[in-house]
């Protein structure tokens, strides 16, 4: 088994390490016919030498920009989540001329706000043996040896500065009675290194970054464009030089030019339609850049979270995460017999219940890693033993039962630990989890894949940098709990501001005008697309297409992927995409707020991304991290990695619509850590 120290998995979880398994045939190429092999890709920016010195060396080697010149250098940042707001504030403070964009009505609403559990940092405040090296090690191992070691080491290294910065901003982290910061342990990790602010850590960190950003806005170093959506990247003379954005209120299509562009536009989990992402989370910014030459890395790596509130009907618009800590005391089960599935669970006798995790995984029981718990839930529901309302003919839910915990610990103790989660559950479902078992089901939560970046966080387009969830860099095939917040802030506060200056040292670049062919081309492509959507006048709403695409992705490119399923998905997606362009119905005009029009553009890009995710999953005939290939498992159904064949980053180059994408492989070399296969049984 691979991975995964996931969030809220208690530290009682232990693992045994087994040696890597033998070679695979080597003859397989499931994705043959779907892609074109390309040249290998090498990250030329990561310095050589001892891993602990690399970041210091890179910072030293990166050229400086004279303070007097900074005002003349302009930076566009798309996104105001942790990754974008922190970068905008820091670069504004340094004196650059920054323009920032978000699609919400305020930068404070970026989806980082929804993160609950916490943020990791190697402070070792508990003196429990934590260190930069241990956080590095845990992150590489948690990512199933599919991340780049130099980047991960740096992440662990700067993690401690993040906490200092946030505390200085007034972020109200949880504290102990002595007034010092409290920590908790997450995800089977043996040390307590997670800082938190009750269940609202993301909110508090984002408000800290937002306030720093607002301070720069008032200082005049940063201009903020809210309700502006980036719809195209401008690449002139081989460099990223600006974006085309639509003012979502007036509909005006605007050109914004700069010396450098940063994308901090978040994750693309909404390709599955239902996910724990926000309604507006999208891939458009990243995808338009991909189409202009930025490679997309490991797009199939998706993290699915086992404890979400199930779908209640076809009206469902998003899914809500509940802390995984619930699995510490709740017992997961479904009825043994299909006939019992619509009964009141309290009336199902003990012997008619299947506590399937306890049965299949006796040593870990309900605390198996996230992906195991998720897959097992899907399997029992596919067998027809799911519970809860039937949606599209299937019951997709399993019980998470606290009856034993309440007997053992008493209702008050359970309420103390989980009261706020129980309240949230009751509000959404209308059921009382103290008396009726909760129902849960897995949901898409995070994407490890994203635009390929080098050690400097620069994409394959010079002058285009990518930070936060939008890049692929640090989490390999699976992300540890509480590490996305860490990465977003590390990128924005401490990494990008240093690496971007090396690029800007050559600027300001020759000004380009609105009449530059690259600008004209980008604007025309945006306006043509808008006109197309408004003129189709078909019969189906954008949402109905998005929902159908999501179903395909979830079914064939979700928790378990197989060659046949993925090939089928690719056909289905292509067919649906054609139909979408011919038959979608978008009313209204482009000259005003038009939410259907906004969604149409996003869904169009999700179609193309979805197809690439399937091709990537098809190519990776191994199971690793969040990617489980049915063909690559042990006899016991455990994930099987193939390091000899797949220890690489798959970086995909756009070749044109209906053309085969080009696969560039970046080999993963570990010098500071040894690759191991994990086993949890």
């Amino acid at each position: 088994m691979s991975h995964s120290h996931d969030m809220d998995m208690p530290d009682t979880v232990t693992s045994t390490e087994a040696s890597p398994t033998g070679a695979l045939d080597g003859e397989y190429d499931d994705a043959m016919g779907y892609y074109t092999p390309g040249e290998p890709l090498v990250d030329t920016k990561a310095p050589q030498g001892p891993i602990a010195d690399r970041w210091q060396n890179r910072k030293f080697e990166a050229r400086l920009v004279n303070p007097a010149n900074r005002r003349k250098l302009s930076i566009i940042i798309v996104g105001t989540g942790l990754a974008g707001a922190s970068a905008a504030a820091t670069l504004g403070e340094a004196g650059y001329n920054v323009k920032t964009f978000c699609y919400q009505d305020s930068p404070r609403r970026a989806h980082s706000i929804a993160a609950q559990g916490g943020i990791n940092a190697a402070k070792n405040y508990k003196e429990d043996g934590d260190s930069v090296h241990r956080l590095f090690y845990d992150t590489v191992k948690g990512g199933d040896y599919r991340s780049r070691e130099s980047n991960v080491y740096r992440l662990a290294e700067v993690s401690t500065n993040i906490i200092d910065q946030c505390v200085a901003q007034g972020v109200p982290f949880a504290r102990e009675y002595g007034g010092l910061l409290d920590n908790r342990s997450f995800g089977g990790v043996q040390v307590s290194r997670t800082f938190y602010a009750r269940g609202q850590t993301g909110q508090q960190l984002l408000i800290g970054a937002y306030q720093a950003l607002e301070r720069q806005i008032s200082a005049g170093t940063v201009s903020m464009f809210t309700r502006h959506e980036m719809l195209e990247l401008i690449v002139a003379d081989g460099k990223a030089r600006g974006i085309i954005a639509r003012d979502m209120v007036t509909g005006e299509v605007q050109t914004h030019l700069a010396d450098v562009v940063v994308l901090a536009s978040g994750g693309y989990g909404n390709v599955f339609y239902l996910s724990t992402n926000a309604m507006g989370s999208n891939v458009t910014a990243a995808w338009r850049a991909h189409r202009k030459g930025a490679y997309m890395a490991n797009p199939c790596y998706t993290q699915i979270h086992p404890t979400c509130i199930p779908v209640s009907g076809s009206h469902q618009s998003k899914l809500t995460l509940m802390s995984e800590s619930l699995r510490n005391d709740g017992r997961i089960w479904v009825p043994k017999n299909q006939a019992d599935c619509d009964k009141d669970p309290r009336e199902i006798a003990e012997e008619d219940r299947d506590y399937y995790l306890e049965r299949i995984y006796p040593s870990f029981g309900n605390l198996v890693p996230r992906d195991i718990a998720s897959r097992a839930a899907k399997n029992v529901c596919d067998e027809g033993r799911g519970v809860g309302p039937e949606v599209d003919g299937v019951r997709r839910g399993v019980y998470l039962d606290f009856a034993d915990a309440i007997d053992r610990l008493g209702r008050d103790a359970v309420a103390n630990k989980y009261g706020n989660l129980f309240d949230m559950y009751a509000r959404i479902t209308g059921e009382d989890p103290y008396s009726v078992p909760m129902r849960i089901y897995p949901a898409v939560h995070y994407v490890m894949g994203g635009l390929w970046v080098d050690y400097d966080l620069q994409s394959t387009i010079p002058g285009l940098f990518v930070t936060g969830e939008a890049n692929f860099s640090d989490h390999g095939a699976n992300r540890l709990g509480a590490s996305a917040l860490m990465q977003g802030l590390a990128d924005g506060y401490f990494v990008l501001p240093h690496t971007i200056r090396d690029y800007l040292a050559d600027g300001p670049f020759e000004p380009i005008g609105e009449d530059h062919p690259a600008v004209v081309e980008a604007r025309t492509s945006v306006t043509d697309r808008i006109q197309h959507f408004l003129s189709v006048n078909g019969t189906r709403s954008v949402d109905s297409y998005h929902r159908e695409l999501g179903n395909i992705m979830w079914e064939y490119c979700g928790m378990e992927r197989t060659e046949t399923g993925l090939k089928k998905a690719i056909d289905l997606i292509r067919g649906l995409r054609d139909d979408f362009y011919r038959n979608v119905k978008v009313l209204g005009t482009s000259e005003s707020l038009n939410q259907s029009l906004e969604k149409a553009g996003r869904v169009a890009d999700f179609f193309e991304l979805g197809e690439l995710m399937c091709i990537d999953a098809l190519n990776r005939r191994e199971s690793c991290g969040g990617h489980f290939r049915g063909e690559s498992q042990t006899e016991d159904g455990e994930a099987l990695r193939h390091d000899d064949e797949f220890a690489y980053v798959a970086a995909w180059e756009w070749a044109g619509l209906d053309e085969r994408p080009v696969l560039h492989k970046e080999d993963l070399v570990y010098t500071a850590i040894e690759m191991k296969q994990r086993s949890y049984k």
Partner: protein, 247 residues
Amino acid sequence: MNLTLKIWRQPDAVSAGAMHTYELADVSPDMSFLEMLDVLNEQLNDQGEDPIAFDSDCREGICGMCGLMINGDAHGPEVTTTCQLHMRSFSDGETITIEPWRSDAFPVVKDLVVDRGAFDRIIQAGGYVSVNTGSAPEAHSVPVPKDDADRAFNVATCIGCGACVAACPNGSASLFMGAKVTHLGLLPQGQPERDERVVNMVAQHDHEGFGGCTNIGACTAACPKEIPLDVISQLNKDLRTAIKHGH
């Protein structure tokens, strides 16, 4: 259940608006309020009528993007955000009135969408600690009493939704502002700029056209995060102190 919906429609900021009536059948009690509007929009789209514009993003009660006046109450009948309100709080045959936030400082953009940019400008006026990236001291160098940290957290949970303003007969943003002033005022890091902060934020608040506070308390009753009314006393206290200090 079947519902009659009376909804404010306004094509843009400058045009006049009016209430429109829609009938919606087969509403499931498990739907969230916004999912109910999604279903209505799907129906309108089918009929060739422009869907109703409303704001939402996280749909889990934390981003502060959603917010509707529902039967005259900001965020509706429960103490929660509009996105976390579910249809089981309503009954079959009911008529529900849906309007945008009402406040001069929050102009309507379209239908149920308003412009809350004024909140950002209040924060710009001083709702921060001036600390540049990289200049922060070691986090443990300044202990903070747990009670202060906990209370700072409680008031820092404000989501900036604007319900307090919408609920207030004076259209005051004192609860929102008081929450920020109290949050930063409870922490050692917030002390150096404490006087300046409150004075500048209040000046911006008044400049934006928000009304004064007359201690009605409708704000705290509507607040989905239950920000307590005493943050406004703290705001006033800090303002008096700052003035005494010559600001």
